[in-house]
Structures are given as structure tokens and as C-alpha cells.
């Protein structure tokens, strides 16, 4: 039986499969259909200081091979989470990664500090795809120095695993990966959703109440693989690969591209036990291919070096 354990900084995962933030509730929302003890970890829905109602309907629309969402980070707030969700999560035999969203650097720090006082949280994932109120709502995550500042401030507040979740909606994600690595982040996770839009041509309106939303699912897998590969070339810290992972083979592709672990998002909606099947699948994949450690797959992509610049010609 292959060794499936992986490490992301101080965080030890029994296998490299987690459920992605916002795609599995708070982690204990559908026990009838999935056993979270079988996966490496749970990333919670993004938590903000105060509860957020989220966006008006419609929040969801299906697209070709994907879906758009505009949930608006609806969440119960960190206090409610600590009081009513965390106690249950503690009972699970899996890593609990709290995802944090905020509209100011201080809010990020405040939420993390509150969680830091609690037991049972093994790490943090920081969602920087949030509007920076100070900057008129421009996303923190599209500004390298802002992303770096958030990392620096949070790093000073915790020794636990600190992962920055990067947005794909930038020209060069490697720039951002470097910025957070330099500030001492233990890892980066990518990709968050890709900005997209859907239109009802009969009503002549956007389908999502917020006009644009976030694209996820198989449609974005090629984009995610490219971003993960780019980040892996740029930094040494571990990467969590996210984006359209539906099958074990998809997960293997992300590991080969340089991800140390993967997160399953949209697939949970279609099959709430997708992540468990992929975790088991990775074990079987390693065994049937005589791979002793799943880490042997990480970054094992063989790339021809005889092809230069032309790759930027599309």
C-alpha cells in the first residue's frame, strides 16, 4: 500500500485530497453521503468576522462543462462557526483548514486571531479574492503588494499552517506566489474561480444577480493546471491544486504539474463523495503503477527543454 501522506509546512495530511472552500459547507453538512474521515482535510466555507447574507438570487448558473456562482461569501461568521460548527469538526479524524475572507487587512487579522485561540484548527487558507473596501472594492488578490501585506500581517499572528489562496484573474500568478512565499506563507492554493458571466438572451439580463460570477468545474481545469505549473516553477513552498478536479486522473495531473495536494470543489455538488473516491483512487493509482509514495508524483512532469520562446506564441 503506497504512502499517501503529504506535508504542507507544519500541516500533515494523511492523504493529499481536501474539499475546497465553499463547496462542502462547513464540513459536516452531509454526513449521510460522505465520510470526511477518509480525506486529508476539510477547508471550511470562507469565514468573515460578521455573518454575511450573501448575494440575491440567482447565485448559480450552469455553463458548458462548468458553472458560475455568485454566492457572495454567505457565511455564518466566525463567532457562530466557533460556537456551533467547530466542536463537531474537532471530532473528525481529518485536518481542519479554516478559510478566511475579509474586506480589510484588519478583518483578516481579527478573524484569524479569534480562531487562533481555539483548538482543533490545523491551518488557515486565506481567500484574497475579496473586495478591498479601502481600494474601492478592487480585489486584494489582484494586487501583489496587498497580497504580500495580508500574508505578512497574518504570518506574525500564527505558527500554524498559513496558505494563501490565489486568484487566477491575473496576468502572472507566479508574481503573487513569490510575493507570499517571500512573506513566509507555508503554501499557496490555486485556483479560485475565474471571473465569468452568463446572459439570459430572452430577458436580456445577466443571469447572476451580480452580473459576473466565478467559473468553476471541468471547463477551467486546463487554466488551473497552467496556473499551478506556473506557480510551481516560481516557488518552492507547497501548492494545493484546485480547479475542475473530477477524477483520480485529474488529481494525478495536478500533482505532476507540481501540486503537493489537491482540493475538490464543484465535484462535491455532483457527487458528495467525490473527494473520498479520489483519495482512495490515488492509493490504487500508486499501487497499480508501483509508486511507493504519492509524493513521488509531485512535480514529476517531464518537460522538453528544447522548445524555447515559441511557447508564448499561441
Amino acid at each position: 500500500m503506497a504512502e499517501l501522506g503529504v506535508r504542507v509546512g507544519p500541516l500533515e495530511l494523511k492523504n493529499p485530497v481536501l474539499v475546497a472552500s465553499g463547496t462542502f459547507g462547513y464540513g459536516n453538512d452531509c454526513p449521510e453521503l460522505s465520510d470526511v474521515n477518509l480525506i486529508g482535510g476539510i477547508v471550511t466555507k470562507s469565514l468573515s468576522m460578521n455573518p454575511r447574507d450573501g448575494n440575491p438570487p440567482d447565485r448559480i448558473v450552469e455553463t458548458a462543462g462548468g458553472m458560475l456562482n455568485s454566492i457572495g461569501l454567505a457565511n455564518i461568521g466566525v463567532h457562530d462557526f466557533i460556537a456551533n460548527k467547530l466542536p463537531e469538526l474537532r471530532r473528525f479524524d481529518t485536518a481542519i483548514v479554516a478559510n478566511i475572507a475579509a474586506s480589510s487587512v484588519d478583518e483578516y487579522c481579527g478573524v484569524l486571531s479569534l480562531l487562533e485561540e481555539q483548538g482543533g484548527i490545523h491551518g488557515y487558507e486565506i481567500n484574497v479574492s475579496c473586495p478591498n473596501v479601502k481600494e474601492g472594492g478592487l480585489s486584494f488578490g489582484t494586487n501583489p503588494s496587498m497580497t504580500a501585506e495580508i500574508t505578512r500581517r497574518l504570518r506574525s499572528l500564527t505558527k500554524k499552517c498559513l496558505i494563501i489562496k490565489l486568484t487566477p484573474n491575473v496576468a502572472h500568478v507566479s508574481e503573487f506566489a513569490r510575493a507570499v512565499a517571500d512573506e513566509g506563507a507555508d503554501g499557496v492554493s490555486l485556483i479560485n474561480t475565474v471571473v465569468g458571466m452568463a446572459i439570459d438572451h430572452r430577458k436580456r439580463t445577466p443571469i447572476l444577480s451580480t452580473v459576473t460570477g466565478g467559473l468553476s468545474g471541468p471547463a477551467i481545469k486546463p487554466i488551473a493546471l497552467a496556473k499551478v505549473y506556473e506557480a510551481a516553477q516560481a516557488v518552492k513552498i507547497p501548492i494545493m491544486g484546485i480547479g475542475g478536479i473530477m477524477t483520480t486522473e485529474d488529481a494525478v495531473e495536478f500533482l505532476l504539474a507540481g501540486a503537493t495536494a489537491v482540493q475538490i470543489g464543484t465535484a462535491n455538488f455532483i457527487d458528495p463523495s467525490a473527494s473520498m473516491k479520489i483519495a482512495r483512487g490515488l492509493g490504487e493509482y500508486c499501487d497499480s503503477n508501483n509508486i511507493p509514495r504519492v509524493t513521488d508524483l509531485v512535480g514529476a512532469l517531464k518537460v522538453r527543454t528544447d522548445i524555447s520562446l515559441i511557447h508564448s506564441w499561441l
Binding site: 465553499g22 463547496t23 462542502f24 459547507g25 453538512d29 452531509c30 449521510e32 453521503l33 466555507k45 455573518p51 447574507d53 450573501g54 448575494n55 440575491p56 438570487p57 440567482d58 447565485r59 448559480i60 448558473v61 450552469e62 458548458a64 462543462g65 462548468g66 458553472m67 456562482n69 454566492i71 454567505a74 468545474g217 471541468p218 473530477m246 464543484t266 462535491n268 455538488f269 455532483i270 457527487d271 458528495p272 463523495s273
Partner: protein, 254 residues
């Protein structure tokens, strides 16, 4: 709530573009209640990507029936599902209609495919010994399905059958003529109809339960994709898939 592969027993068109699909799903059939729904993967790959939600229309032994309109790819695939096909189904999902309780006469109001939950509801109401009156609205005569329902009055947009106009206008007229004894309204249908019905129920002060629709990504409460605005209470939205689909008409803003 469970997930499993269930066998398609049959699919046939029972009215203009309205299809009846029968599934052999013992485990779900044994626990499902009126107003609950199934979330069905119409294909084993990614187009369509998401499951498709359908109210349980009727239960017979181990068989569950759904009825649906072909509106897009998912329903097109279901309409041509070969008998013996195994469908990946999650269910039963959602809450259910409040059949028990302090009322004597059940007034069922359905518009279009809103009839879907009514046969099961009728069955439960009968075993609860409630008097039943059913009001169906449809575009035209060809769109009317009335099996397994009781005391059916019909309204059609074009007047090709029954009352010409909306089913809510039909009900309003009926209520003017003679009041029901301790009635309660159970409704399912397009949002505009439910909105009008909620107003009527308020006016005549009859308790009213609405089964709502919403785009859904998961159907099980993990994506937050199906909000409906709710009144009173701190939260602005409830989740249609988990806290609904059935809501008290007074507690939702449509």
C-alpha cells in the same frame, strides 16, 4: 437522504411535452414524503454537469415517478432514457408539505408542472383524512394532467379547458362563492403564480404552504446556491433545497 443508482422502469409522454419517468428506488420510496424531490445525474459525464432536481410525483410500491417538461439538455436526455438505464439519484431531498395540523380542507393549487408533487400530496392527505380540492392551471387543455388528484377544477390561459384565466383567479372566485371549513392551501408552480397566491391567502387569511424552485448546484445544502428571501428573523435568506422547498407563504418574499 441517500445516493444510489436506480433503474429506469419506463418513460413515456403523458401530455404535450410532459413525460412520466418511473424509477425502481425502494430505499427512497420507503421514506419519501410529499413535496420532497430527487436530484438526478442525467449522464455519467460532464454535460450536463449538475444534477437535475425533480419533485416526486407519485409512489407505487418500490417505484417512484417524476413528471417533467423537456426544457433543455438534461430533460431531453431523461425523456429518452432507455428502460434498464441506471440513474445516479440523490434523495429524498428537502422538507415536505405540512400534512398534519389543524385544518380540515386541503386546497391544492398547481400551475404548469407545479402539479408534480400533488398526487403524492393527495395520497398523504387522504390517509390523514382531509377533504381535498384541487385547482390546476395550465397553458391549454393539452397541458393538463389530473391523474391521482381529487375534486379537480381547471384553469387555462386560453380557455381551452375550464376557467379562462389564471388558477389563482379561479380560486379567488371559488372562495367568494363558498368558504371552505378550516382550509389550508398547498401550492406549487411558477413564482408569479405563487406570489399572487400568497397575496390571496393573506387577504382571505388562509394558511398557505408554497413549494419553491431555485437554480441549484448541490441540492443538499453545501453550496449556498439556492437562496430565498425570508421575513422575520436575523437571516435574510433561507436555502430552498434544505430549509424548503416548502415554505409558509407568510415567511418568504417572492
Amino acid at each position: 437522504m441517500r445516493q444510489g443508482f436506480y433503474r429506469v422502469e419506463s418513460v413515456r409522454e403523458i401530455a404535450g411535452n410532459i413525460h412520466l419517468l418511473s424509477l425502481h428506488a425502494p430505499e427512497i420510496a420507503s421514506s419519501v414524503r410529499a413535496g420532497q424531490f430527487l436530484n438526478i445525474k442525467t449522464r455519467d459525464y460532464f454535460l450536463p454537469l449538475l444534477r437535475r432536481p425533480f419533485s416526486v410525483y407519485h409512489r407505487e410500491g418500490d417505484s417512484l415517478r417524476i413528471i417533467f417538461n423537456v426544457v433543455g439538455l438534461g430533460t431531453r436526455i431523461l425523456a429518452s432514457a432507455p428502460p434498464g438505464d441506471q440513474l445516479d439519484v440523490i434523495g429524498p431531498l428537502g422538507n415536505a408539505f405540512g400534512v398534519r395540523g389543524e385544518y380540515d380542507e386541503a386546497v391544492l393549487v398547481a400551475g404548469g408542472l407545479g402539479i408534480a408533487p400533488m398526487p403524492m400530496l393527495t395520497a398523504e392527505l387522504k390517509s390523514a383524512r382531509k377533504k381535498i380540492h384541487t385547482f390546476l392551471g395550465a397553458r391549454n387543455a393539452s397541458q393538463i394532467v389530473r391523474e391521482h388528484m381529487e375534486d379537480v377544477s381547471v384553469a387555462t390561459d386560453d380557455g381551452s379547458a375550464g376557467f379562462r384565466g389564471t388558477v389563482v383567479e379561479l380560486l379567488r372566485g371559488r372562495l367568494r362563492q363558498a368558504p371552505y371549513a378550516r382550509p389550508k392551501i398547498f401550492a406549487c408552480g411558477p413564482t408569479p403564480m405563487l406570489r399572487a397566491l400568497a397575496v390571496l391567502a393573506e387577504e382571505v387569511n388562509i394558511p398557505c404552504e408554497l413549494s419553491l424552485e431555485s437554480p441549484m448546484a448541490c441540492g443538499i445544502g453545501i453550496c449556498q446556491g439556492c437562496p430565498v428571501e425570508v421575513t422575520g428573523g436575523p437571516r435574510k435568506y433561507a436555502l430552498v433545497c434544505r430549509e424548503g422547498t416548502v415554505f409558509d407563504s407568510k415567511l418568504v418574499v417572492l
